[in-house]
């Protein structure tokens, strides 16, 4: 079984290729079957692998062929399989399968059905390669692969150049991170002589000591990559725009899998980060800052998908926080649960958008509780998990994170408090969403409720979002065990109660309206803050001014090749000489004589001025 592991990414890849080549001829049904079936098959294989692995938890490595061999640089196309890989693979294939299924209904009317599934399958393949890679170069291949697929899918409806804009933004911004990461790879290889993750970490632990400069630089470069892919500060701006893509895509790529790649990368290379405490501190702070920034922004959004997008950013912030404080397991655990409930929420929103004539503004919705029950319940559960209400999956993961954050060195309590504030906001904005969309009076009439191909995934994810918290992820021997001792009990109580408080607030403000905030909001300060948060803390604006426009301007200035001016000058000089000399050819004989006389005089002077007899030398 284990040596069949390469089939897992291969199957979706093959189906992607078939779909591309046969896009014109294949019947719709077959396309659907291929697209969903391939991922389903991959999921099945993963399950089998998982069972086998749980039977005897021995990480193994499978090398297919040497990619390239130059001097001592010989990365190979090889897969590494351990608990962490298993978790990631299950999430990707499992959630991926559900989302594919969902898509068959969601994309029903779309003309380029085949292209959609081709891209989606290709994405799954690339993502699998990313998590299964045994060395960083192969990981980078998957890393870029998912990037391109995300680009293709965000810009799926290419006729609208706004989508293209969003897609390019997504790709370029992440590419910035990727470049940092690539440099990191270069550094790691140059210093440690290999890119095989296990060997590399081993070498690092031998050659580098904790707190050195090199590990710090290396980790920061890797972090750059992670920050780009996982949409953390300062490279998060692409994710909200990426919502331009079809909603299932947002669910799969921009909620469940790709955006968590950064988390995976750091978790995978935690051996390095342990050598660079400073780097870990930075990771934690980045996480914290991001989660707060995003939470505040989410509070103000009116576009249902943007709300979810910012909440994704914020949730990944939690994961980074976890990684930063060394709560590896908690981080990955949250990754998984988040995958469940965020996918659920996105799919739910997808259903709404699908049946509400592509309406995105939550204030144009409302009262959907009765009309779309399935969707309503999935949203309820999803939001509950997102808000980390007790007993939901989100609760378990987030709780662990907060507790371990509290224990983290001296600034622990600070981090904990920040996380708590975030949790409060999360509860508020998620239930704001629920109340506004599903309660109150209906503004738009939906065209019925979800069909089975949408219902099944929703329901499945509901259950996962509920019970996901009871799973035990088999990463025990991947990560060092976290300190066992627990903080004071009041900390735990507070952590539990805060989300409930948030829900209550949301209820009072948006549902029963007993708590009237209009006065604050309408106040000038309120307005300013509102605009500020709505615009995502004006970071987009800032980047536009600081980078985008200057680039356009510079490029525009250079467009017509200033360098050529130099050569133009040379030409001009020659032309001038040509002009003068041609002028001198007057055709008048006397003038010609004059020139001869002049020449004669010059010759005479030259000949007479240097009266030095050279020593005679051999003549021919």
């Amino acid at each position: 079984m284990a040596d069949m592991i390469w089939l897992v990414p291969l199957i979706p890849l093959l189906s992607a290729i078939i779909l591309m080549l046969g896009s014109a001829i294949l019947p719709r049904l077959l396309i659907g079957l291929l697209g969903v079936g391939s991922v389903g098959l991959a999921a099945l294989l993963t399950m089998l692998l998982g069972l086998e692995f749980l039977a005897n938890p021995e990480p193994f490595q499978l090398s297919l062929w040497t990619w390239m061999q130059v001097g001592n640089f010989s990365p190979s196309i090889a897969f590494y399989f351990d608990g962490l890989t298993l978790v990631m693979m299950s999430v990707i294939t499992g959630v991926g399968f559900l989302i594919h299924l969902f898509s068959t209904e969601f994309m029903e009317e779309d003309t380029s059905y085949a292209r959609y599934f081709a891209y989606l399958n290709m994405f799954v393949a690339a993502m699998l390669v990313l998590v299964m890679a045994d060395n960083l170069l192969l990981l980078y291949l998957g890393w870029e692969g998912v990037g391109v697929c995300s680009y293709l899918l965000v810009g799926f409806w290419y006729q609208d150049s706004a989508n293209g804009q969003a897609a390019r933004k997504a790709f370029v911004v992440t590419r910035i991170g990727d470049t940092a990461m690539a440099l990191g790879l270069l550094l790691l290889f140059t210093e440690l002589g290999t890119l095989d993750i296990q060997a590399m970490v081993g070498a690092a632990n031998i050659e580098w000591q904790v707190g050195g400069t090199l590990p710090l630089i290396a980790c920061l470069l890797l972090l750059g990559g992670a920050v780009g892919k996982s949409a953390q500060l300062p490279l998060h701006t692409w994710l909200p725009d990426a919502m331009a893509g079809p909603t299932p895509v947002s669910a799969l790529i921009h909620a469940a899998t790709m955006v968590t790649a950064g988390v995976y990368l750091i978790a995978r290379t935690h051996g390095l980060f342990l050598l660079a405490p400073t780097a870990m501190m930075i990771v934690a702070l980045v996480g914290l800052a991001t989660l707060l920034m995003a939470a505040f922004t989410a509070l103000m959004q009116t576009d249902i998908k943007r709300i979810l997008a910012y909440s994704t950013i914020s949730q990944i912030g939690y994961m980074f926080l976890a990684l930063g404080v060394g709560a590896w397991t908690a981080g990955i655990f949250h990754l998984m649960t988040h995958a469940f409930f965020k996918a659920l929420l996105f799919l739910g929103s997808g259903a709404i958008i699908h049946y509400l004539h592509h309406e995105h503004n939550i204030f144009k919705m409302g009262g959907l509780r009765t009309r779309m029950p399935v969707t309503f319940w999935s949203f309820m559960i999803g939001s509950a998990a997102l808000a980390a209400l007790p007993m939901t999956s989100g609760f378990f993961s987030k709780d662990q994170i907060l507790l371990q954050a509290y224990q983290f060195s001296d600034i622990g309590p600070l981090l904990w408090f920040g996380g708590l504030l975030g949790a409060l906001l999360t509860a508020i904005y998620s239930f704001r969403l629920v109340f506004v969309v599903f309660f109150g009076k209906a503004n738009t009439e939906p065209e019925g409720d979800t069909g089975w191909r949408m219902a099944v995934p929703l329901i499945t994810l509901c259950t996962l979002a509920m019970i996901g918290g009871y799973f035990i992820i088999p990463v025990a021997d991947v990560f060092p065990v976290a300190s066992g001792d627990h903080p004071a009990h009041w900390v735990e109580y507070v952590s539990i109660s805060v989300p409930l408080l948030g829900v209550l607030l949301a209820y009072l403000i948006f549902q029963s309206r007993q708590l009237n905030v209009d006065r604050w909001v309408s106040s000038s300060v309120g307005q300013a803050l509102r605009r500020f948060w709505l615009s995502g803390w004006g970071i987009d604006w800032l980047y536009d001014r600081a980078f985008v426009r200057p680039y356009y301007r510079i490029s525009g200035l250079l467009k017509n090749e200033p360098i050529d001016a130099i050569y133009g000058l040379v030409v001009a000089i020659n032309q001038t000489f040509n002009h003068w000399l041609v002028e001198s050819q007057t055709g008048r004989m006397r003038w010609y004589v004059a020139s001869m006389v002049l020449g004669l005089i010059v010759l005479l002077t030259l000949a007479l001025q240097i009266p030095a007899l050279q020593p005679t030398e051999g003549a021919s």
Binding site: N574, Q575, F577, N578, L581, V582, S584, Q585, G587, M589, W591, Y592, V593, S595, M596, L598, G599, L600, V602, L603, L604, L606, A607, L608, Q609, I610, P611, A612, L613, Q614, T616, E617, G618, A619, S620
Partner: protein, 489 residues
């Protein structure tokens, strides 16, 4: 003057004989065809003579010296004259124009050139040059109608006479300084003469350089060149560009070496100045030129600038090896230049005839598709001028550069490179014009539908052109035999 000396002078004698015969023939019965054949026969005879004389190389009196080198160039020049002869017959034959005298003049001019080549004495040099020149005036002015030939002739006459006087005066001064008229003698006595009368000697040499420089049309004695090239009948232009210039350069070289002028740094300095000026000015003048004859005139200025480099190198001559190299360089470059120029003028003569408007580059548009042969010949010629590999011109330039490097003439080398770089532009312009596809044929998408300008049937001059092209390519692609031969001179 014994028998063997007579034999050594075979070429000269043959030419003189031809001249006499021509005159007699003209006095008996004027007939162009006959005159033409006589001339041809005469030239061939003297060619044979030149070959024959190779076994009798020796100085003949103090006036002439017959050596392999001179004989080789005699041969070359005679061939060039043959080309001119053929072209003259084919190209410019305005109806009812009598050309017997023209052939006579041609023969006389060649005679002058040969004497010039073999001269080792001021008198013979003077005679040769004047004979050649005076005959040329006639040839240039020969066409009866059209003003350009006449203008060209009168300009050339006055200016070249002026130049000759400079030359003469120079000789006079040198004679006054050294008291000898033979090149060798001058060389021998120059040393003490310099000690006694440096001014006379230097001034004299300078004026000689000026005089010969005019004939070679190097800056600043170049101004006549374009006008004369343009105005003269194309075959005559070709003759002027090859025979006259070649002969003069040989004479200059002889005087330069025998008279050991290369010893005087001041002269070398002056000569370098002239050379550099010619390299640059010539090319600059040619850049935008639209009349192909004028363009060739300008390019010839540059080319003789390049060639002067070799004479300058003599002063630096370090070892026998280098001197051999220099000798070869002169021989090869001149030969290559003459062949290439002939090829070019053959094409121009064939296509443009005497119609000045037809010698505009514009008239050559799309020539490739009208007359592939002539177009390819001109292309090859241009590439050879530009010094692109596989053509004679390249090997020539290769030689010059090698010489320059061997004798470390960096400045001249720089000028040479710069000049060549500039030159590419205008040679390419001609090629570009010829390769234009007339829009008509693009639509039709096939050839053969453009016939503007005279479509020439395959005639002797096409054959001639083809031969010359092959020669250029041969010299360029398989130079070893010729190099060996040049080395043997």
């Amino acid at each position: 003057m014994n028998m063997s000396e007579m034999t050594a002078l075979m070429p000269i004698l043959m030419l003189s004989l031809t001249a006499v015969v021509l005159m007699i023939q003209a006095s008996i019965k004027r007939d162009q065809a006959v005159a033409w054949w006589i001339t041809a026969a005469g030239l061939l005879l003297s060619l044979w003579g030149a070959g024959y004389a190779r076994d009798f190389v020796q100085p003949v009196t103090v006036l002439l010296v017959v050596d392999d080198w001179g004989l080789f160039f005699t041969t070359l020049i005679l061939m060039a004259s043959l080309v001119t002869l053929i072209l003259s017959k084919e190209s410019f034959s305005p109806e009812g124009e009598r050309k017997e005298e023209y052939y006579l003049l041609l023969v006389l001019s060649v005679l002058g050139a040969v004497i010039l080549i073999q001269s080792s004495h001021m008198a013979s040099l003077l005679l040769g040059m004047e004979l050649m020149g005076v005959a040329l005036y006639g040839m240039i002015a020969f066409p009866e109608k059209g003003e350009l030939p006449l203008e060209a002739a009168i300009k050339y006459l006055v200016l070249s006479a002026c130049a000759s006087v400079m030359l003469l005066f120079g000789f006079a001064l040198i004679y006054a300084a050294t008291g000898d008229l033979t090149f060798a003698g001058i060389g021998a006595k120059a040393g003490e003469a310099y000690a006694r009368e440096p001014v006379l000697l230097m001034a004299g040499s300078a004026m000689i350089l000026a005089g010969l420089g005019f004939k070679l049309s190097v800056v600043p004695f170049h101004m006549w060149t374009p006008d004369v090239y343009q105005g003269a009948p194309t075959p005559v232009t070709g003759f002027l560009a090859t025979v006259s210039k070649g002969a003069v350069f040989i004479a200059l070289t002889r005087f330069f070496i025998e008279g050991q002028l290369y010893q005087y740094s001041s002269l070398i300095f002056a000569l370098s100045a002239v050379a550099i000026a010619s390299m640059l000015v010539g090319n600059w003048l040619a850049l935008q030129q639209q009349n192909i004859k004028r363009l060739l005139a300008y390019s010839s200025i540059a080319h003789f600038g390049y060639l002067l480099l070799v004479l300058i190198a003599l002063s630096m001559a370090i070892d026998a090896d280098t001197n051999r190299l220099i000798g070869e360089a002169i021989t090869y470059y001149l030969a290559a230049y003459i062949v290439t120029t002939l090829a070019a003028f053959t094409v121009v003569a064939t296509l443009a005839g005497e119609d000045d408007s037809l010698s505009m580059i514009g008239a050559f548009d799309g020539l490739f598709w009208r007359n592939p042969l002539q177009a390819s010949v001109l292309t090859v010629a241009m590439l050879s001028f530009a010094g692109i590999p596989l053509t004679a011109g390249f090997i020539g330039k290769f030689y010059l550069m090698t010489v320059a490097i061997q004798s470390q003439l960096w400045v001249l080398m720089g000028a040479l490179v710069l000049g060549s770089a500039i030159a590419i532009y205008y040679y390419l312009r001609i090629i570009f014009a010829m390769s234009k596809i007339p829009p008509a044929s693009i639509k039709l998408g096939s050839q053969g539908d453009i016939n503007k300008g005279p479509r020439v049937e395959f005639g002797p001059q096409d054959l001639l052109a083809a031969l010359l092209m092959l020669l250029v390519l041969l010299l360029g692609s398989w130079p070893q035999p010729f190099i060996a031969f040049a080395g043997s001179l």
